[in-house]
Amino acid sequence: MTSDPPIDSYTPSEMMAVAAARALADGLVCFVGIGIPSLAANLARQLTAPHLVLVYESGAIGAKPTRLPLSIGDGELAETADVVVSVPEMFTYWLQAGRIDVGFLGAAQIDRFANLNSTVLGSYDSPTVRLPGAGGAPEIAGACREVVVVIPQSQRTFVDRLDFRTTVGFGDGPGDRKRLGLTGAGPSLVVTDLGLLRPDPVTCELTLTQLHPGVCLDQARGATGWALAVSDDVSVGSAPSKLELKTLRTLQATTGDTT
């Protein structure tokens, strides 16, 4: 174990996962996508939110995995769940009916109104990169009471115009969610490797509200494909604690282990 990274330094991705975990209050019912959302939700459950109810679209409600699952189908999710339901039931009785507090999503691209692309890069009919597609994301973002998005911030991900709109955040702006019949309140927070963004209550446009330690405003502006709105009082978050880092790294090191 000589190659352990030092506990007093951390990567931007680790900062992003820790910041996302901190955003989840204890007791919430959270619809979790695989990848960073699952990592962050399990980190939160181990550290600050032991009563977080994890819902995986594979059918596990109230999953309590001790190790991080590689996929949403890992056996431990079903074995530790309060209840296991079929996929049609998950998307109707539980999600569509509005029983989930927070939808926790990633994406390949995001725009200023927190709309998401996870379908293609390039044109739909002749894509340069074919991404996995919608999965559960459009309805998770539509029906959960609020949505938290986790996505690294760069000119490639924070784009002026999505290559494809897989999932509606605030559509084209104020009033669009209601017009489209989306029942949840939409994105409340975007966590990146540079800081936090929240939608402006009037314009719905994502606004930088917090920077991670050591990140400057110009960095965030340079990593955004539009003129980034910035809050008048941007705060600076705290670095990951030793406990947060240690727990995060243990989770990552044992991802998908079945023994």
Binding site: G59, T92, G133, G135, T166, L182, T258
Partner: protein
């Protein structure tokens, strides 16, 4: 009425070139062995259907079995891209692949409508997304009671559904448990079905959360222990996560993929029905 068959006979009898074939398994109980038999029998021009096409669909697509894919999320879960799917979509290898995509909610509503004998299903979906209008199996419909506009999706009735389950008895009653996905709906929506099972038992004992499909809605039952590997069958095996991680390397390159398929699928004899 369910018939016990060998895997080769079941695929030969139930899967024809050009069929719409649903092979379900939402991250569990994925019918790999049946998929391999379809590859060995060189079925062509299939429309493959699944909410979450993963490695078995990557193999079917890379081996030229599919003309079209109807799906909602295509990837190697927790690992990344399906390289054979991407090669077919991005570069037309080994043949172009038509895509029709929904969300999970929409595609599962299509199965439910199909299983229910309804012409369409309703849900809140698609409005404002780029998916809207890309498929003639989705539309908008006005609620006759409230006036609200909701999404309508066409019923899906595949020619054949293929699933893997834990148990069957002699009559061909089938039971599956754990994460049961959308398999029940797929079998009930399809015109015919093949169910591969881990074990044959004298009598089915109802499991907690177990889904039982009576023999009179099942077509062929095939005893294939381990038939979902590298996926798994709760109570029998664990997901082979290392395989999924390694598939990323195997599938990246056309020739590595082709030689892997020859060694591990084409040159492997179809499983013989274990004696009972």
């Amino acid at each position: 009425m369910a018939t016990h068959l060998s895997l080769a006979d079941a695929v030969s009898a139930y899967v024809r070139d050009g069929d719409v074939v649903a092979m379900e398994g939402f991250t569990h109980l994925i019918p790999f062995a049946a998929g391999h038999e379809i590859i060995r029998q060189q079925r062509r021009d299939l429309t493959l259907v699944r909410l979450t096409p993963d490695v078995i669909f990557d193999q079917l697509i890379g081996m030229g079995c599919a003309r079209k894919l109807l799906f909602s999320w295509g990837g190697n879960p927790g690992v990344g891209s399906l390289h054979r799917l991407r090669d077919a979509v991005e570069r037309g290898w080994p043949n172009p692949l038509e895509l029709e995509e929904h969300s999970h909610a929409g595609l599962s509503a299509r199965y439910v409508a199909g299983a229910s004998g309804l012409p369409f299903g309703v849900l809140r979906a698609y409005q404002g997304t780029g998916l809207e209008g890309r498929s003639d199996s989705m539309a908008s419909v006005r609620c006759p009671f409230t006036g609200e506009d909701v999404a309508a999706v066409a019923a899906l009735n595949p020619d054949v559904a293929v699933i893997h389950a834990q148990q069957s008895d002699r009559e061909g009653n089938v039971q599956l448990w754990g994460l049961t996905g959308v398999q029940k709906e797929a079998v009930l929506a399809a015109r015919a079905s093949i169910v591969t099972v881990e074990e044959l038992v004298e009598e089915l004992v109802q499991q907690p959360g177990g889904v039982v499909l009576p023999h009179w809605v099942v077509g062929a039952v095939v005893h294939v222990p381990g038939g979902s590997h590298p996926s798994y069958a709760a109570g029998f095996s664990e997901r082979d996560n290392d395989f999924y991680l390694q598939w990323d390397r195997v599938s990246r390159d056309r020739s590595t993929f082709t030689s892997w398929m020859k060694t591990h699928v084409l040159d492997v004899p179809s499983p013989i029905r274990p004696s009972t």
